[in-house]
């Protein structure tokens, strides 16, 4: 019996190690690749830990290619998207959760359906429209589509989150003389902070990581987001793997670190929203 138990433990240990290696290994590889100089990068067999560390690739993308500008763009766009989604979405979710009105389920169904629409279905005509208004190559030009992608998800997640908060809280507040809005601000918001937090991260990350619309709706280097800038480092004939690794890490590491720090909240938010 004891032998069986220790065998199982061994099995669990090995499986855990394999899982960690499988999912974190490639990222580790990318990180060290971004610090390897030319001669070490393009050597076979490759070194599994850099013999020489160089920052030349990072210097290249930040100084010559103004990657910081791209980071700034991504940050602004993702930030505004998240902000507006949270504000509008939470109010919507609150209304949907607390009120009973006739088309409630229809609206919810529509919200869900919008979430599932392929981006390609709207990208063409939306492009023409934005171009007419003059919003191509601007921050707002991307914020608008991103909001329309993230808002349904925000409403969905927050609605199911609010549903789990008992309405007695607001009733008590109402009896004490609060208006509904005040009840919302003072009672619900503080309780719902974990949910808000999870949604905030999810929306921010999906806006930050988005490629398709960002690629199509920006033209100039100055307006590009990090995703576009990174993939456009690929040339027609050769692919500069050094700078690409550096750019990939530069754009992804902040997000990865945030996710690691907030992992508990994210898992809760995700699983709660998608599966009951």
């Amino acid at each position: 019996m004891r032998k069986r138990k220790s065998l199982i433990k061994l099995g669990i240990g090995i499986s855990s190690v394999m899982i960690v290696l499988f999912f974190l290994g490639p990222y580790y590889w990318q990180i060290i690749s971004s610090f390897k100089p030319d001669n070490e990068l393009f050597r076979m067999p490759p070194t599994y830990f850099p013999k020489q560390f160089t920052s030349q690739w990072y210097r290249l993308i930040f100084i010559k290619r103004h990657f910081l500008r791209n980071i700034f763009n991504s940050a602004v766009i993702a930030g505004f998207t998240t902000l507006i989604c949270l504000i509008c979405g939470s109010l919507t979710a609150y209304a949907v959760s607390r009120l009973r009105f006739r088309f409630k389920y229809l609206i919810l169904g529509l919200i869900l359906a919008f979430n599932l629409l392929p981006g390609v279905s709207i990208v063409g005509p939306l492009f023409l429209l934005l171009r007419k208004i003059g919003l191509i190559d601007t921050h707002s030009g991307l914020v608008i589509p991103y909001i329309s992608f993230s808002l349904p998800l925000t409403v969905w997640l927050l609605t199911s989150y609010f549903n789990q908060l008992p309405s007695e809280l607001e009733d008590a507040a109402r009896m004490d003389g609060c208006t509904p809005f005040q009840a919302y601000l003072r009672i619900i918001l503080p309780c719902a902070l974990p949910g808000f937090f999870a949604v905030l991260i999810i929306v921010f990350i999906s806006a930050w990581n988005e490629l398709f619309f960002a690629l199509i709706y920006t033209n100039s280097q100055a307006a590009r987001t990090v995703t576009v800038a990174t993939i456009l480092l690929q040339g027609s004939y050769e692919i500069p793997w050094g700078p690409i690794s550096a750019a990939s890490i530069a754009m992804s590491l902040p997000i990865v670190l945030i996710v690691i720090l907030a992992q508990k909240g994210i898992v809760e938010g995700l699983t709660r929203g998608a599966v009951k």
Binding site: F22, I107, G119, W241, M251, V256
Partner: protein, 274 residues
């Protein structure tokens, strides 16, 4: 009440404004169903459709099998949960295009680490050109998608596992059912709804967002071997500038996804949800 009601109305108007499906299957003049005829008789369209379905199919099956195994595994309590959770969240946190480039480098035929390891282990003699043939390219792309999305799938499935009532298991143990029997008769049936929802969710996701993977990876090549539908639509819109045809294909895609979406919404059971 009024204030809280007004905001969601504005929000609804806001995103119905953006969801303007101004898709015009007609271009500069009404040509009726002419575009549809063109599209359905175009072999490149059928190629793209076939590739997309194949891609989506394998991706979903792959990540489902791997994900369910992982979910079952993680469901057992043990130490080291945090590192596993981190390992699982990292692929999700990375942008698809970053993942795409990351693996592209690893699959590089001359300097990639995958070929290096295979050769060092003595499994192959010459480096494999992973992106040089159509078959290899599409399967490599499928593998990358599975790598990236399995963690999320396993999280969804895990959530489904964790709400299963434990007393059923104890009753079964008392009745003398062994582990396998318990799995088949208790876990699987109760897990099915979650599995179904996950499958549909992942299918729709794979359809919609394969662009971010394929475009930096192969741009649809070699030839048209990896030209999934979003990429095809993109090419039609922004390379060929044929908005009419592009919109037609986009609509077809939306309809296909829509069919899956209907199943998805039904299987979630909105009323029970809210």
């Amino acid at each position: 009440m009024a204030v809280v009601f007004l905001y969601p109305t504005i929000a609804t108007v806001w995103y119905s404004f953006n969801r303007m499906n101004l898709v015009m299957p007609w271009m500069k003049g009404f040509v009726g169903l002419c575009n549809y005829v063109d599209v359905f008789t175009d072999p490149r369209f059928w190629n793209s459709l076939r590739i997309t379905l194949y891609f989506v199919g394998l991706c979903v099956i792959g990540s489902l099998m791997l994900g369910s195994g992982m979910a079952l595994f993680i469901n057992q309590s043990f130490k080291g949960r945090i590192i596993i959770r981190i390992a699982i969240l990292v692929p999700w946190a990375l942008a698809m295009c970053v993942v795409s480039l990351m693996w592209k480098w690893m699959y590089n035929d001359q300097f990639g680490v995958i070929n290096a390891i295979l050769m060092q282990l003595g499994l192959i003699k010459d480096p494999i050109g992973w992106l040089q043939t159509g078959t290899l390219a599409i399967h490599t792309a499928i593998f990358i998608d599975i790598w990236r999305n399995t963690p999320f799938v396993s999280l969804l499935l895990l959530a489904g596992l964790q709400v299963l009532p434990t007393d059923l298991y104890e009753a079964a143990k008392v009745d003398g059912a062994n582990a396998w029997r318990r799995f088949i008769s208790i876990t699987l049936p109760l897990w099915k709804p979650v599995i179904l929802v996950t499958i549909l969710f992942r299918t729709i996701g794979a359809f919609n967002w394969s662009f971010d993977l394929i475009y930096p990876f192969t741009r649809g090549g070699p030839g048209n071997a990896t030209e999934v539908m979003p990429l095809y639509v993109y090419t039609l819109y922004f390379r060929n500038l044929t908005y009419g045809v592009a919109s037609t294909v986009a609509i077809v895609m939306a309809v296909i996804v829509g069919i899956f979406a209907v199943f998805y919404v039904k299987s979630i059971g909105i009323k029970g949800y809210v």
